[in-house]
Amino acid sequence: MVAVTIWGSLRRFTDGQGQVEVEASNFKELLDRLSQDYPGLKPQIERGVSLALDGRIYREAWFTEIGPQSEVVLMPYMAGG
Amino acid sequence: MRFARPATASEAAEMMAQEPGLTRILSGGTDVMVQLKAGNVDPALIVDIKHIPGLRAITPEAGGFRIGAAVSGAELAESAGVRALWPGVVEGVELIGSTQVQGRATMAGNLCNGSPAADAVPGLVTAKAVARIVGPRGERDCLVADIPAGPGKTTLAKGEFVTSIFLPARPERSGDAYLRFIPRTEMDIAVASAAVSLTLDAAGVVIDASVALGAVAPTVRLVPAAAEAIVGTRLDAAAITAMTAACSAACSPINDKRGTIEFRTQVAGVLAKRAALTAYSRAGGTR
């Protein structure tokens, strides 16, 4: 299981939890599982999210591997200047 | 739009008088070109006066100088004689726009554009400068102070244009100065401005003074009460305070993107004070 930290305003779609656990070994599986387990997150995931894995930010990268001990933080998709 | 380059002033006046549509004089062009670009004027005739004999000349006359209407700011700034006699007038002209604009902009154009914030005008007004005007009915002279009639407006009649500006001789122990406030150090239009011209006696007492403010009223405003406040003084603190108060009292500015009524009113007084001190020191006074 991977513990995923979500940002505050998404908690209303995860029964108030700031961290949820899902079975996933990569970014794609993680997003699919989150959408499945917490349908309220789906619109945000479809709009785009970034993923911080052990402090590194990934913008898409489905097949980025996630270890069981990895720190996983969901973040809004970012665009810059 | 037609473009004309007349050979004489009377020819220029004639063609402008006969043109039924809008006409514009092109001298430095730094205002006209911007207006054309913005599309807020659509003249039928543009008259380039730079090639009229004498219009690009600076000529000593009766102890003063006659400055042709097509003399650019950069050319005026290079005239040591004018700068020595009327440093405040020259520094006002030099503040118009960038180096590039200085290569083109003229004192007469700055006057005839009719902006209440024109940098050249307060100094010319305190200098009691006289504009020579040519029109379809010949030539006339007019105090510079009487030319602006409101934002973008002048008292010039159809077909009339300024051919030169005369800066008179002045007594010994005279000095003038011009200051403006802008948010940056360059490239802005004055939010408020002040020119002071004064003459001292041998003891350093002000015997004659003139104070004019810019950007605080529909036209550049002469403030006799401010001048009176310093005449008979050596610019002591009380005189300065009285002059500053007179300046602020004379302001009737507007709120706009460049400044507030409150700001302009306060800063006009500050600038007049600082200009007066500079003019005093240029006149040889020591406080």
């Binding site: 930290t5 940002w7 505050g8 305003s9 998404l10 908690r11 700031g18 309220g40 619109p43 945000q44 709009r47 911080a52 052990d54 402090g55 590194r56 930010i57 990934y58 913008r59 898409e60 990268a61 980025t64 720190e71 933080v73 969901l74 973040m75 809004p76 998709y77 970012m78 665009a79 810059g80 200047g81 | 913005a38 599309g39 406030f181 948010p183 940056r184 150090t185 360059e186 490239m187 802005d188 239009i189 939010v191 706009d256 993107k257 460049r258 400044g259 507030t260 409150e262 700001f263 306060q266 800063v267 500050v270």
Partner: protein, 746 residues
Amino acid sequence: MALDNTPKRVFKVVGTRPPRPDGVDKVTGRALYGADVSAPGMLTAHILRSPHPHAAIVSIDTSAAEALEGVKAVVTAADFVRQDDGSLRDVLDNCMARDKVLYDGHALAAVAATTPDIAKAALKLIKVTYKALPHVTDVDAAMRADAPVVQEGRSLETVPDGMSQNVTSHCEFGHGDLAAGFAKADLVVERSFTTAATHQGYIEPHACLASMTADGKADLWCCTQGQYNVRTLCAAMLGMEASQLRVTASEIGGGFGGKTTVFIEPVALALSRKTGRPVKIVMSRDEVFKATGPTVSSSIDVKIGMTRDGRITAAEAHLRYSGGAFPCGTVDMGAQSAFASYDLSAVRTLGWNVLTNRPKEAAYRAPGAPQAIYAVESVVDELCQKLGLDPLDVRLMNAARKGTRSSYGPTFDDIGLIATLEAAKAHPHYVAPLATGQGRGLSAGFWFNFGGNTCVSLNVNTDGTVGITEGNPDIGGSRAAISQMAAEELGIPYDKIRTIIADTSSLGHNDVTDGSRVTFAVGLATIKAAQDAVAKMCSRAARIWGIDEEAVVWVDGAAMPAGPNAGKFPPMTLAEIAAVSFNTGGPIAGHFEFNADGAGVSFGVHLVDVEVDRETGATKVLRYTVFQDAGKAVHPSYVEGQMQGGAVQGIGWALNEEYIYGADGRLQNAGFLDYRVPVASDLPPIETVILEIPNPGHPYGVRGVGETPIVPPLAALSNAVSRAIGTRLNSLPMSPPRILKALSKG
């Protein structure tokens, strides 16, 4: 073959300052920018823009314009493919208003004609019937329940019930127990701030030349930060296939984020399609100000608790950003970056995006961060003043470091904040004496930095030179940095390499030049492409020598036999291998494509001294020093240039730059005369101190540097001015009338 994959620490080319490859073109006027090309038979187009801040378009009658001699086509929103995707639809609706005009300057029709004057005259013949609607341009006013609604039905599911429909999104970040944290504080300061919208202010107006042929193939030349994104957007709007649209990025005259989207490009394509002729559009400066991306305007509340000795116990920020008339995610980045410089046990940021009748926001250098960090760093400074603490010591005490759980969630890896703060503390600037009336301010700043999709090809020419093809417009000298990294990796001189920027048909997709990604991500791809070519060259050498290719190493630009074969053959240089490449298997090329990650966050600290004229409210910047972690500065001059340029944009934002709207909802200062970017005489030298704390995510340790420098100046200036005049302004810009007003109250 063996490749050295350990982070490289001794460099030959990286870290030097060679001349940029585009230098001569740019100093001789030869470089071709957006507006500098023409085509035979070309038409010129001009765009009709709304004078209303908010109005329904009842009807548009273009018949009189079309009838004008010389007019070849008129287009309106009806000429584009309606988009299902929300963000694409917004970009299109911003290019051409569909049912409503949403801001002063919103485009709603365009005319292509044989001359610019005819096109302009035709605009006046287009009859638009508007139904004026109430408008709102202020972010706080737009949040009120009774505010005019800019667009209906745009609120995301994240927005709490009961808010104005102008609120389109809501976000929240943070961790810990705020109430407990504030209870531990000896002093809590809570303040509200506003920042004005500012424009990127690039000197080159948007320009493009589109040419579509009868078979539906098109070429588009334009100034953009991302030709691939232009292709994606335009192809969708025109209903084209990507392969049929080739987009070439011209030299770009500044972008700063503002050229990451499209405004005129789809319009030129539509007109070219309709006329069968090339169509050129060049924006005027007032169009640039009225209708291209400013940054967000903001209204922010910040509350921070601190102990007597300077420890922050809790921190909270509420951010209300308006990205104009369309939904915008910038507040998310503001909320995430607000407290990024601090190691906090209790922190929360809330953000709301709000619609107003202003132009659609476009990214501007570290989008969202400067506003939030300005507010936070101002409150930290006020706490330091009130508690009598040194502002650098307080920042050092609370600084985020490796292992800190960041305020936006992830735990930081190696970051350079403490080293940067220490460098500032050790610098003579920090202890230089100040005169009466002067003040010194400081602020930290942060940006995430991005990686992203990247594709690079590297071709070894038979004469031993190398061509690199990359896909990111060079906005600040990146071609030089990329050539340097290739030279480093290949072991050949810098001047043997020429880097060019591909059109969209010549190379795979590259994300836009944004998020400080290019030197990092394109650099990384270049290194990998070079390694790919090196592997092939080692293999060729091995075959020539008749040995196993695993037994060949690449050293100083040459293949060398290694292991058991060491010394058996003289090294073969790149040039020698290239010279016989046709005989050994054909041309040699390297390639690499990936979606880069591991960009590595960036911190900076700015110090500034100011003097305020108490009689006029004018602020003079006396001294300015930028400290920033670059990971590894590939071309230090251009790193310094980013630091200096960003700092000066921030100085402009802090002191004078702002979008000024009248009560009529119209923009009052759509020009460089009254939108006051700093001029040379406004500024002191901008000193720079580059720190190099290697980014573990890049083989040379490179971090993006471009965006962070615009973040600290806002608070640094505000803190300096506040200390100089003894009273605090909580609103930007700190224009002279505002300072004088604060002084009269203080």
